[in-house]
Amino acid sequence: MNSDLLNQWSNLGANGLPYQIPIHPNLVHLTLGLFIVAISFDIVGALFPVEKAIFKFLAIPVTRSALFDVGWYNLLASAIITFFTVMAGLFEVSLAVPLADVTSAWGYHALETMIWHGVGGILILALIVGMTVWRGFQRYQWRKDMARQVQWSYLAAGLFVFALMFVQGTLGAHLGGEFGVHVTADQLLHLGGNPNQL
């Protein structure tokens, strides 16, 4: 953001935020955890005939429909929370002051990384919401009475989104861990300070 505009915030910390720790990375735990577990349980549900013996060996009673319930409710929760994840991310990237003279492990500069991470976030939000609608149709319409509640193509799409999330997550890790965005100690060191003052 424009530095004059940044100065209009009277109480920004050394991390560039009006609070101590960024909110976006904490919401990311919820988005990713819920989505990955949703798809994983749908995969376990789809392969249920193969795994029955394992659950029996572990003495864990299990019904196939409960596995698909996890697939549905976790995905729904992920879709809802991800709107907040993206909103927090867009707000915090607007206050970002990255270390400008750095190239990331993937060869990008700060601005490219911020743009790809921003575009990627909106794309992944759209995919999660789209997959939630798709999953809802399978659950309540198309496959309502079928033992296997999800299509194979849905599971493949889920694995594709995992790959996008890996790329997106690594770009996000570069923003914090390499460009020092919203990392208090990195910003202090950049200003010539000592993080032991913290």
């Binding site: 919820l30 990955i36 577990v37 864990i60 409960a66 914090g176 390499e178 100690a185």
Partner: protein
């Protein structure tokens, strides 16, 4: 002996980026969502949500031990400077404690589930809300290590290699 270990990169890690903050997705999100489902399930009397809760809790319990393994490796390689040591110690102690607490709550849940009760007992709900509180404190401590103290970030690793202690 050390020459047989993989070389460390500019994050002071033998692999590209920290793994612990990724694995903890599956503890934080699953514990919070499990308890959320319990509370909603309790008031709506929806037994499906109890099943969703149980499976999320079971997943969280497996994940917390994997988190601790990576957490110990990465804490060991962090070479924390003076100001960050007490936070890292608190995060370590609470992390190991949470593995025990979470395993006990999940075992309790396993027994409740086998009994096929129509409603969850109130003491269990109280314990799981306390568990959520501890998970939030632990996430906060971890956030401090990453976002305030910058452990494993390149500028901090550079400074430590340059003599910051």
């Amino acid at each position: 002996m050390f020459k047989y270990l993989p070389p460390l990169n500019e994050h002071n890690l033998p692999y590209p980026d920290t793994i612990h903050p990724i694995v903890v997705h599956f503890v934080i999100a699953m514990v919070l969502f499990a308890v959320f489902c319990d509370v909603v399930g309790y008031f709506t009397k929806n037994p499906k949500l109890y099943e969703v809760s149980w499976w999320n809790l079971a997943f969280a319990t497996v994940s917390i031990f994997i988190s601790i393994i990576f957490g110990q490796i990465e804490a060991g390689l962090a070479e924390p400077y003076a100001a960050s040591v007490s936070t890292l110690n608190a995060h370590t102690v609470l992390g190991w404690s949470l593995s025990g607490i979470l395993a006990i709550v999940t075992a309790w849940r396993y027994v409740i589930r086998l009994q096929e009760r129509p409603q969850l007992p109130i003491p269990y709900l109280v314990a799981s809300v306390l568990l959520v509180g501890l998970v939030c404190v632990q996430s906060y401590l971890g956030s401090l290590l990453v976002w305030v103290y910058g452990l494993h970030s390149i500028p901090v690793v550079d400074a430590i290699r340059g003599g910051l202690s």
